[in-house]
């Protein structure tokens, strides 16, 4: 089992301060994780180096598309410190391909006959240190027969040439959804606006790269793999299947501290598999791999959504939106990995916060010679909201209506929630028009007054200098707490869904287990992994309330993939809600067990004992049994009653409103956190540079378990939204060469790019979840990009510019302004 990583008594003591209501949930409890990180004691995967460990390095191709003619490893093998060299053929001879997100495509941990993207690994080496390992890579010669790469996803659809010969097409998956009478809506509307929008290839790029230390146990024929994979208890199949072992024989263990993931590290299985194979080949010598930054940016299997949109909006002259028609091409690179359903998740927020009945949604998943996609915060939703909001802005201009008014008049009203979308997901609660109005009032009051950023005098003065200010108001839904059943829709025969019954729906739970130490400490084990979200802190808060304990009475640790059942884990803004349910359930099990144990001990009826205030009390007596007492007593019993486990299913499972979505495998996201945003931007029209002067955001994620952590998630998400909107992009040139392989070119938001943020919070509890909490781990990244683009549109309204390409880089805005000038 992993260690807790906990340290520091100061953190413990301060953790024991309740809210005025006497609860720990709802306090901005400082995190118990901090102390070990601040002092450098935290052990991330990069810090784990067992004695005698060898280091792995990967030879990666520099060609986007080529056949491998020959791999000559003799030079490396002749080196005195070379411990191992493996090629694709070596792997294929004994192991299995890696799982694919779609059928009919085979991907190997090392390329076999051909390479399909720059950065694809062709060979691996192991040596006593990474420096020598890289020396060895220089001694391997690969002969290639190169071909023209397939780079443009729109052209790739013609299948003139295909990425995968056996597949015969570059469009292995597509689907059209029609809800309502879309044709009629468009036919009858006063106006139809139609435009194309482009969302550049971006990703999470956590500060810590992927890492793995694999050790093969020669006696037991099994693997222990330490790594920073995300969802280790869910995606362990991506490791044990290629290895050809049973789940119980491949244990994935994730350190308590992971240096960020944002979805990207779900897909680091290639490294885990190769390090494991190497360790087995080396008779159990541990093998370590740390991805370097160039590997990570260029071919680390971690790019995300890369979309070209065509959006049509049917609108009446009075501003009523009648219909929406969304079409997009998503460039998945060379291999469609597990997150193929990033194309589907937008169905969970199909019309954002607008009440639109008639909607068409059509996607094409396209393969090209680029790095494969992984997940990134928001999982395909941010581009959808961006494209939709741009269309709304164009419609407002076309109709001559203030975009605030047009948005306001089409929002779903508070009397309409719970609101069922045409695509069958349900928004749980919220007053979207109210939130937008409140935010606008605040901004107008604070800023459109003397001395404010939008002081009319200042705005005019700045314009004379060529600096155009604008504020855009928009409201966005963050779908939270994904179900799991729908996620294999693309690997399901969709024809059969019509006859599917509700009983066939199988969800994945969130699992907790716990026990009581002899000193009475409750030790709880998470089955998920954590990459900065503060789960140890939040679980302590939840359980302290449920068990009438102090947070310092509870210790939180982690299970590895072999110990834990298959369950879901940290993704899709799930944990606030899932841990709420799991903690309640586990506490219930604990209390029940404690009472049974006490009753047996006192030899009284169950009804004569009750658990409260951290002890079991005996009726009509002063006798109590503390948790330490119970732990001592428990040793005499065969079945441990101071241990408990609980698997919390899913909040939507018992809500009838979701039945249609469940059975039809439409994305089920039972919480709708929301944000009304108003970034204030200034565009230098001569340079095209955008400065965000301040970012106002009114956010509501239901009950806030820990307001400090909620705000941290919001601000961090918004910063990533700023990166997506203005800075970040993995471009490729015509020869398939990636253009951003260092952090000089892939621009993460720096201190100069992120403005002061004014966050307002409201709390509209979810009726569907145990604590009223809603998922909110992805919010800012989901709503940030679209709202920044809305603000830029407002600033550049005099030039009739609409941001039709993300990131809205200075040269792209200049191109549009230049055209507008002429």
């Amino acid at each position: 089992m992993s260690q807790t990583g906990e340290a520091g008594t100061e953190a413990e003591a301060e953790a024991d301060v309740e809210t005025d209501d006497g609860t720990f949930v709802g306090t901005g409890l400082n995190r118990v994780e901090d102390h070990r990180i601040l002092t450098g004691e935290a052990e991330y995967i990069h810090d784990i180096t067992p004695e005698g460990c060898l280091h792995m390095a990967l030879l990666r191709t520099t060609h986007a598309r080529a056949d491998i003619v020959e791999v000559d490893t003799s030079g490396a093998e002749a080196h005195p410190e070379c411990e191992l060299v493996l090629t694709g053929e070596d792997v294929a001879a004994e192991y299995n391909p890696m799982p694919s997100g779609l059928s009919g495509i085979e991907e190997w941990a090392l390329a076999r006959d051909s390479v399909k993207f720059v950065g694809e690994p062709v060979a691996m080496v192991a040596a006593p240190d990474r420096y020598v390992a890289e020396d060895l890579l220089d001694m391997i010669d690969v002969a290639y027969d190169t071909q023209d790469p397939i780079v443009d996803p729109v052209d790739a659809r013609r299948d003139d040439e295909v990425v995968h010969e056996g597949l015969g097409t570059n469009v292995p998956d597509e689907e059209e959804f029609v809800f309502g009478d879309v044709d009629a809506a468009f036919r009858e509307a006063d106006t139809v606006v139609e435009n194309q929008y482009s969302w550049g290839r971006i990703s999470g790029v956590p500060l810590e790269t992927a890492g793995v230390v694999a050790e093969y146990d020669t006696e037991r024929d099994r693997f222990d793999i330490d790594c920073n994979i995300q969802l280790h208890t869910l995606v362990d199949d991506t490791v044990y299947e290629p290895l050809g072992y049973d789940p119980g024989d491949v244990s994935l263990s994730v350190p308590p501290d992971v240096g960020g993931s944002f979805g990207t590290k779900i897909a680091i299985h290639r490294y885990c598999v190769l390090a494991a194979i190497a360790s087995k080949k080396l008779d159990g010598t541990p093998v370590k791999f740390v991805e370097d930054r160039i590997e990570n940016l260029q071919g680390g299997d971690m790019h995300s959504s890369d979309r070209e949109y065509l959006v049509r909006l049917a609108c009446d002259d009075d501003g009523t939106i009648r219909g929406l028609d969304v079409n997009f091409v998503d460039d998945f690179g060379a291999y469609p990995r597990y997150p193929v359903n990033q194309t589907l998740k937008p169905l969970a927020v199909l019309t954002n916060a607008y009440d639109i009945e008639h909607v068409r949604y059509n996607y094409e998943l396209v393969l090209t010679n680029k790095t494969a996609q992984t997940a990134y915060r928001g999982f395909g939703v941010p581009p959808h909201l961006y494209a939709l909001e741009m269309a709304i802005d164009e419609a407002a201009r076309e109709a001559g209506i203030d975009p605030y008014e047009l948005r306001q008049s089409n929002l779903i009203g508070p009397d309409q929630v719970p609101y069922t979308l045409p695509s069958n997901n349900v928004y749980d609660s919220g007053d979207y028009p109210g939130a937008l109005a409140e935010l606008k009032d605040t901004v107008e009051r604070e800023e459109r007054t003397e001395g404010g950023l939008l002081d009319p005098e200042v705005v005019t003065q700045q314009r004379e200098e060529g600096k155009y200010r604008g504020v855009g108001y928009s409201v966005h839904i963050e779908p939270g707490v994904s179900g799991s059943d729908w996620t294999d829709r693309q690997r399901t025969d969709r024809e059969t869904l019509a006859e599917r019954s509700r009983e066939d729906v199988a969800e994945l739970p969130e699992y907790l287990q716990g026990s009581v130490d002899e000193d009475g400490t409750v030790v709880v084990y998470l089955a998920t992994d954590t990459s900065g979200q503060g789960h140890q802190t939040i679980l302590k808060q939840l359980l302290a309330d449920e068990l009438d304990l102090l947070p310092s009475d509870i210790e939180v640790s982690y299970l590895d993939s072999a110990e834990a059942p298959t369950e879901y884990g940290t993704a899709a803004s799930r944990m606030a809600v899932m841990l709420s349910g799991a903690a309640q359930g586990l506490a219930g099990e604990f209390a029940d067990n404690f009472e049974r144990l006490a009753a047996a001990h006192w030899d009284v009826d169950r009804t004569d004992v009750s658990y409260r205030d951290g002890a079991v009390h005996r009726a009509n007596s002063d006798e109590t049994l503390s948790l330490a007492d119970l732990a001592a007593i428990d040793e005499d019993y065969q079945e441990s009653l101071t241990a408990a486990e609980y698997a919390y299913d899913h909040p939507a499972s018992d809500v009838e409103a979701f039945d249609e979505a469940f059975t039809q495998k439409y994305p089920v996201y039972p919480t709708a956190a929301f944000a009304a945003n108003a970034p204030i931007v200034e565009v230098d029209i001569e340079t095209g540079a955008v400065e965000i002067l301040k970012f106002y955001s009114l956010r509501d994620c239901g009950t806030q378990l820990n307001p400090t952590i909620v705000e941290g998630q919001a601000m961090g998400g918004l910063a990533q939204g700023i990166g997506a909107a203005l800075l970040e992009e993995f471009s490729y040139d015509d020869s398939g060469q990636p253009q951003a392989i260092t952090l000089f070119d892939y621009l993460l938001p720096s201190v100069t790019n992120v403005p002061e943020m004014e966050l307002l919070h409201t709390e509209t509890p979810s009726p569907f979840t145990p604590t009223g909490a809603k998922g909110t781990g992805e919010g800012g990244m989901i709503d940030g990009p679209a709202s920044i683009a809305v603000a830029i549109n407002r600033a550049l309204e005099p030039f009739d510019v609409v941001v039709d390409e993300i990131p809205a880089t200075p040269h792209r805005l200049r191109r549009k302004l230049r055209d507008a000038d002429e």
Binding site: E10, A11, N30, R31, E33, D34, H35, I37, L38, T39, G40, A42, E43, Y44, H46, D47, T49, H79, P80, E81, D129, Y131, V132, G204, V205, P206, L207, E208, T209, D257, G259, G260, F262, V290, D292, R293, I294, S531, G532, G534, T708, I709, E711, G712, M715, G716, G717, A719, T742, L743, F744, L748, P749, S750, V751, T752, V754, E756, M757, G780
Partner: protein, 166 residues
Amino acid sequence: MSTDTTTDRPTREISVTVNGEEVTAEVEPRLKLSDFLRNYVDLGSVRVGCEHGVCGACTVSVDGDIAKSCLMYAVQLDGKEVTTVEGISEAGSLHPIQEAFHEEHALQCGFCTSGFIMSAREFLAENPDPTRAEIKAALADNICRCTGYQNIFDAVERAADNMEGD
């Protein structure tokens, strides 16, 4: 990290004062300072995020000036002094900057945190009463992917207040 090499690559003996303690080691000239501190001296606070001088996670203090340890070689440190996060406070206690980072929730995943602390430490030593703009400029060598920076700026402000008179 293997220290006994069977090939004839050059090595050098170096003597470095690390967090007040003298460390002597035989190293290859190509060994980066970041790898030396992590693998030879076992200083886990030195995080390696990019190895090309952008992210700042490996920032340490060399003879009193901050530097990115991925862009120095251990051989360059012969006879010099290095300070890392492990050396800025007594065991078991927190430096006012660390304290402020905790209070302001200025870290999430924490991978960048050591670098920010080292940058802030040098900055506050020279600018005990900084403006917000000066704080931002002082942290321009460090990237945080989680927090959106505002809490980090707040933490450095708080630390400056708490350190007043030190």
